[in-house]
């Protein structure tokens, strides 16, 4: 109907429908409210226009009315708030088994890497119907990953991870925008999300530039950088055993408990002294400035792969590690 004059972008993710439903509800509500007010104003303006010999009737006000038009909107507002909250929580809580894609933003491009090792620039290929979780960070300033067709946006910050997840529902090519102002070529920091049928996606994966799976790269780095000398897969290491750590709660030396998520692992590599695991000494060297964002992503992916209950169940995960009891809980 509105082919040349669209009112909303393509609806290509599970979130998009939910957001549009609320949006349409809000548009309708706003229309009703504003039309009511405008009609009243116009009616009063016409009905009570100044006429010779007709004086205005003085009215002080009415507390019941005031209470009505304070409470009534507030109730409606709370409905909107609650509805929005449900959507927000849904779109901000990634499913456990989502396929992960690491995103590194820099002035002015998007660098993406799949779990399987494929790298892409300013393009992301994903299959229809699979949950995709983006783990994003920036090399310089704040950017924002925005896909209008998915109704999703998340700022991408330097120095930490932010995440976003979606499940695409419709094959096609959609805009990827950077929506946080980031300098000269901000408007050039755009790309495409290519949503494909699963079969096509498999073909694309097979035809792509073969790279080692991310976790495997990470495993290599883990050896290379000497991490494995302390973080052993038994209880004898000078550092905590990392098997099964990911996603668990970790008791810290100062009594706090944190969840070992991507950001925690990242911080523990870059600034190990920030959150020391209970029972260990702050002896790990700082890796800030020694590893690139991509290497960091690989290391995080590796540590995460150690956390999987069934090693080898997913592509690219070395099955060599022993499922030992982790030191931390």
């Amino acid at each position: 109907m509105f082919e040349n004059f669209p009112l909303w972008p393509a609806r290509a993710s599970t979130t998009a429908g939910q957001v549009d439903a609320l949006y349409i509800f809000l548009v309708a509500l706003s229309a009703v409210m504003s039309i009511t007010i405008f009609t009243m104003i116009l009616y009063f303006a016409a009905r009570y226009r100044r006429r010779q010999g007709v004086a205005a009737e003085q009215i002080e006000g009415s507390t019941p009315l005031e209470v009505t038009w304070s409470v009534f909107p507030l109730v409606i507002f709370m409905v909107i708030f609650a509805w929005g909250m449900v959507i927000y929580f849904h779109e901000r809580t990634p499913p456990q088994d989502a396929t992960e894609v690491y995103v590194v933003a820099k002035q002015w491009m998007w660098k993406l890497q799949h779990e399987e090792g494929q790298r892409e620039i300013n393009q992301l290929h994903v299959p229809v119907g699979r949950d995709i979780k983006l783990i994003m960070t920036s090399q310089d300033v704040i950017h924002s990953f925005f896909v209008p067709a998915f109704r999703l946006k998340q700022d991408v910050l330097p120095g930490r991870y932010t995440t976003l997840w979606f499940r695409a529902t419709k094959p096609g090519t959609y805009h990827l925008f950077c929506s946080q102002y980031c300098g000269t070529q901000h408007s050039g920091m755009v790309g495409q999300i290519v949503v494909m049928e699963p079969a096509q996606y498999q073909a694309w994966l097979a035809g792509g530039i073969a790279g080692a799976p991310l976790a495997e790269t990470g495993a290599g780095l883990f050896q290379q950088l000497g991490c494995s000398t302390c973080h052993r897969s038994d209880t004898q290491g000078r550092g905590p055993n990392l098997v099964g750590v990911f996603g668990k709660k970790v008791l810290l030396e100062d009594g706090r408990t944190v969840v070992a998520d991507e950001d925690y692992i990242r911080e523990s590599i870059l600034a190990p002294t920030a959150k020391i695991v209970s029972g260990f000494k702050p002896i790990m060297p700082v890796f800030q400035g020694l590893v690139s964002e991509e290497q960091l992503n690989a290391l995080v992916a590796y540590v995460k792969s150690l956390g999987q209950a069934a090693p080898g169940a997913r592509p690219g995960i070395p099955a060599a590690v022993q499922p030992a009891q982790p030191k931390v809980q």
């Binding site: 944190v258 969840v259 998520d261 950001d263 925690y264």
Partner: protein
């Protein structure tokens, strides 16, 4: 409105209290009270600040309601800034 003139003895008494509290707060910081070191330090600081406000700045003796309202309002909004900012920072890394 003629300001009430306080005796210099009172001022010197307040001054002596402030000096003592300064020494106490410095000394107490060397004693291990666990998390209460911070609490003690802030309580002492607040007592000192209150003494200055109430006596040196004459707020205890003023008949200006507005002075007190302004002070309370300023601290209230400061508290809002701190509390609502910390609402983000303390919950940011919860799962």
């Amino acid at each position: 409105m003629s300001e009430r003139i306080l005796s210099s003895k009172l001022y010197i008494g307040i001054w002596a209290t402030l000096m003592c509290l300064t020494v106490i707060t410095a000394a107490v910081s060397f004693i291990d009270l666990g998390p209460f070191n911070t609490v003690v330090a802030l309580v002492i600081a607040t007592v000192k600040a209150s003494l200055v406000i109430l006596f040196f700045m004459h707020v205890k003796y003023t008949h200006e309601r507005m002075t007190k309202v302004v002070i309370v309002a300023a601290f209230f909004f400061l508290l809002l800034l701190l509390a609502l900012s910390m609402a983000d920072y303390t919950t940011r890394f919860l799962a």
